[in-house]
Amino acid sequence: MNIFVEIKESLIIAINAIRGNKMRSFLAALGIVIGITAVTLMQTAIEGINRAFESSIASVGADVLYVQKFEWFGNEDYEVYRNRKDLTLKHYEFLKRFSQTSSSISPSAGTGRMVQYGSLNLEGVFVIGTTDEYQKTVSLNIDDGRFMTAKEVENAYPVCMIGMDVKNGLFSNINPIGKIIKVGSYSFRIIGIIEKQGSMLGLFSLDSRVIIPITTFYKYFGTRRSLSINIKAADLNNLEETKEEVRSIMRKARKVPPGARDDFGINEQAAFKDTYNQLTALIKVIGLLITGLSLIVGSVGIANIMFVSVKERTREIGIRKAIGARRRTILIQFLIESSVICLGGGMVGMMISFPISLIIDAFVLPTAMPLWVVVLGLLISLFFGVLSGFFPAYNAAKLDPVDSLRYE
């Protein structure tokens, strides 16, 4: 008999058998339903966390290098980093003069200060001192007003650009442009408002900021802070080249002897990604293992039901064999029955987890059930269907026709 005809006939037999035992088939499939729901929701959650991370680190910029005293996620002792010489404007100027593979470079220094307007004040606002090129370097968009000019930087003007949190915290109904605010104990005139940036990994807001000329920053808040020198590569695809160039310029500028290790860090977005992947890989694997376990439990449940089903239908198997069913035919019949139960369970699981993923997307964190999870989920349920059906089906196939016809 042709294998396709065989499968088609077995499918009809399987569906009839499942219909004939609705409650039992439902209970058998329940384990797979729960397992597939768990696995797909787990994947959806992971997808959501990944997306949240991606959008968080977008502010870091894929094509920007941050030359700093510290390395992000470095594994040296804190002392090693602390004892390094500070990065100064001299290093910035050196890079500015010699770098050829970068499109813009800007230094930045930061400190936390209280910001006041009238009777309102905000604690712990991050004050960044930098140059006019900063906007281009880290890709800031201006919501209203303008960014500072080279002239304002050169002459240490008391002007500032504020982030959205500062605007919303101090100016509810009035236009902040042109208003004077106090940063620490110094007065600054607001010339621009920066577009909303969101938060970094959900930890701290990137909008609770005030940006001022670095010259003004030095004048009011001192020069004793190590700078971050931010370099935008001319071409994202040649980021490595830019990195090498920056390294050699910095080594010269800081007179690092040949063979000695860098006494500065060149940081980039990739470092975040690497660390993130390392941190989450284990969590992902454990999550999948635990949810996968529920699938295995579900599969054992189905195997159990299939053993019962084979036992109950011993006589039916005998009849089928007596009138010409081969071993293979019986094997396929029961394999298909368990596969149909599992696949059905998998589909019900998807029908449960898909709406839940929409709810998560709408209310918890932006996510979507990836298509490959749907496909994989169905393949997994099919796999477990065959797996859990195999031994019962094999038992059925090798039943002796004489004995099974006599079975009561």
Binding site: M1, I319, A322, I323, G324, R326, R328, V402, L405
Partner: protein, 231 residues
Amino acid sequence: MSIIIDISNIKKVYEMGEEKLFALDGVDVVIERNEYVAIMGPSGSGKSTLMNIIGCLDTPTSGKYILNGKDVHEMDDDELAEIRNKEIGFVFQTFNLLPRNNALHNVELPLIYSGLSKADRIKQAQDSLANVGLADRMMHKPNELSGGQRQRVAVARALVNNPSIILADEPTGNLDTKTGEEIMSLFTDLNKKGNTIILVTHEEEIARHANRIIKIRDGLIESDNIKESSA
């Protein structure tokens, strides 16, 4: 007439621990086409074992069995399944219909296993059911049919693949006398149309319908008589 079953020196031994039980202890039978044979014997005589071997449900421990020119005793499971499908039509005491399927589907089943197309299957199954007088009961499930009707469905199923032999194991055992007689006259009709029929029974009344009676006792053939009238 051509020989359809040629059994020589067949033995079937069951090992019960140390002891050996000879269910069949060297049986020779030759049955020709269009014969109507009854195999008789008390329970435990070996008649069921012989029937299972003839029906290719079981294989002998030793001996030779040639069915319709094919040597059966060396066949594997799948080949035996094919022989059961094509050469043999079973009729059982307990009917052995699939309870969830209607009469038509039950009769169609052997044709599914022989790989016929759906249209051909339904056509043949309908013809076969009509042959046993059940043209108007095709869509009924076994539990909606009387005992006699169920056995007719089973006979239709046995006939549907045009087998070389029809093997009936106590076909009237679960029927009342009147219905039993109806089934027996159905077999007589089938025999007259050219079918070879082997009947296993322990009732003289039933065996009388056959043209030849083989009696078995303790695994051996005790007597083998052909009715004079039919000779």
